[in-house]
């Protein structure tokens, strides 16, 4: 099986109380995997463990195994900054940094020491095109990122993450605050991107999972209930709780 992220008996606790328990999940390369589940089911926690942003909260405890491209995420020798470049994340709320559109996109490459103007220009155009934003901002790259509309800001954040050239794109409810047109543009970008990287999409919107993903994983109360091709999960789930959630009986 061609998995890029593998969790084996993976568990997470904060200050002793378990948030995730015994998760066994293989996320396949060049696919869009949606993670769905009600609030508090641990889906965002799982996502934030992949790039270790979870480290920022105090009292984190991790059990079991989690690997990205065959490398143990929680090994002591892991270079966390490098891990976060390999697993780029886009947050639920768009957070452009207070600087120009251009400077937002090249933030990551500049941290790595890329200085060549030509190289940076190339990165900006390529990633903004990939994020379906180029046509809207190509004439105002020097405008503050904070001046864009919410939907444009989120695509700017996507371009900024793509500039890291990640292997995996972690999207944490990226469309939760967006209008349908901006949402469609983000979904369009995801479809184009999956030939070159793997997308993990946490979403509260079951319809988005059905429409935009190849595979779906259903989390409930800190456990993985089931994972499979999206078409199967939505037409013939193996577990009755999955069915209940999808048809809107709870959550």
């Amino acid at each position: 099986m061609n998995a890029i992220i593998e969790a084996r008996g993976f568990g997470v606790s904060y200050g002793g109380s378990a948030v995730l328990r015994g998760v066994d999940l293989a996320i396949r390369r060049n696919k869009i995997t949606a993670i769905i589940g009600p609030a508090g089911s641990g889906k965002t926690t799982f996502l934030r463990c992949i790039n270790r942003l979870s480290d920022l909260a105090p009292g984190l405890g991790v059990t079991g195994g989690l690997s990205l491209d065959g490398r143990d995420v929680y090994a002591t020798e892991t270079d966390v900054a490098d891990l976060r470049r390999r697993a780029g994340m886009v947050f639920a709320v768009p957070i452009p940094l207070p600087r120009s559109v251009y400077e937002n996109v090249v933030f990551g490459p500049k941290l790595l020491g890329v200085r060549s103007r030509a190289k940076l220009d190339e990165i900006v155009e390529r990633t903004l095109r990939a994020a379906v934003l180029w046509e809207e901002v190509k004439d105002r790259l020097n405008v503050s990122g904070l001046k864009l509309s919410g939907g444009q800001q989120q695509r700017l954040c996507l371009a900024r993450t793509l500039a890291l050239e990640p292997q995996v794109l972690l999207l944490d409810e990226p469309c939760s605050g967006l209008d349908p047109i901006s949402t469609a543009k983000i979904e369009e970008a995801m479809q184009d991107l999956k030939s070159s990287l793997t997308v993990v999409l946490v979403t509260n919107n079951v319809k988005q999972a059905a429409r935009a993903s190849d595979r779906t994983a259903f989390f409930l109360m800190g456990e993985l209930v089931e994972e499979g091709p999206t078409a199967d999960i939505f037409t013939s789930p193996r577990d009755s709780r999955t069915n209940d959630y999808i048809v809107g009986r709870f959550g």
């Binding site: 790039n51 976060r84 957070i95 941290l111």
Partner: protein, 280 residues
């Protein structure tokens, strides 16, 4: 009977206008009075020549230069220490008893009268370390006095940077230091600069702490080394006034003091805005 909302609104508005005018008016009257009395004394000769007859005649050039050295020294010493401490407190530690002790210490320092700093500077820098009455002793003492202001204002400014900016920086592969340098410091610079400028203004107008440490002797030539004793503008003004040597020159000195503080404020904010133009 209920007072009509309109009456309440206009009464409050009138009251607020009155107190604001009162505050700003008092400030303008004080500064205006100093300038009106002092400006006529300010001539190129006054600015650029040495004093004669203990300040009765001549100018204040050595005093201006001495003041600049002391203030510059104090800021150069206090800024890295103060800003560094606040970065450590906000970015490199979690809240615990150590940070509380440091913060409590800074608050205590802020409450100590400047003459106590002067005494400490005299005992420690002037006598124990053998720096004598000098620019160095004065600068070190003023730096200590400025530290609490710089630490606390910088700390508030650093905390005001949205935590999401830190999270985003980490998510984009920044190390902690890269995050601090590229996101947190630019974001908090206005507050940090305000603290430094406040501290400079206080240092500039300080008398008690520098009398003990930088000296009071009126130099007849421009100081050339950190070991030279100087008399600062504030001290010069104080001595001219209390000894009744020259009211004209006293007010001239006071006007220079007020104008310098104004120039420092405007200069610092202009520089800062030029730097921050990239970050909005």
């Amino acid at each position: 009977m209920r007072i009509p909302p309109k009456v309440v609104h206009y009464s409050v508005l009138t009251f607020l206008w009155a107190v604001t005018l009162g505050t700003v008016g008092t400030l303008c009257v004080i500064i205006g009075w100093v300038l009106v009395k002092g400006l006529p004394a300010i001539t190129p000769g006054f600015l650029f020549s040495a004093p004669e007859g203990a300040g009765r005649e001549g100018g204040i050039f050595p005093v201006i230069v001495g003041t600049l050295w002391v203030i510059l020294g104090a800021v150069l010493i206090a800024t890295p220490l103060g800003v560094g401490t606040s970065i450590f407190l906000v970015e490199y530690t979690r809240e615990n008893w150590v940070t509380r002790v440091i913060r409590f210490g800074a608050d205590c320092l802020a409450g100590i009268p400047s003459i106590i700093f002067g005494l400490f500077g005299y005992v420690f820098f002037v006598v124990a370390l053998g720096f004598r009455w000098s620019i160095l002793s004065g600068a070190l003492t003023l730096a200590l006095m400025s530290l609490p202001t710089i630490i606390r204002t910088s700390e508030v400014a650093l905390r005001a940077v949205p935590p999401q900016y830190r999270e985003v920086s980490y998510a984009l592969g920044a190390t902690r230091w890269q995050m601090v340098l590229r996101v947190v410091i630019p974001g908090s610079l206005p507050g940090i600069v305000t603290g430094i400028v406040l501290a400079m203004g206080r240092s500039m107008s300080e008398t008690a702490a520098v009398i003990f440490t930088a000296g009071t002797v009126l130099p007849d030539s421009v100081p050339t080394s950190p070991g030279d004793s100087v008399r600062t503008l504030a001290v010069h003004f104080y001595l001219l006034a209390v000894e009744g040597l020259s009211e004209k020159n006293a007010f001239g000195t006071a006007a220079i003091l007020v104008l310098s503080i104004l120039v420092i404020n405007v200069g610092a904010y202009t520089l800062m805005h030029r730097f921050l133009a990239r970050y909005r």
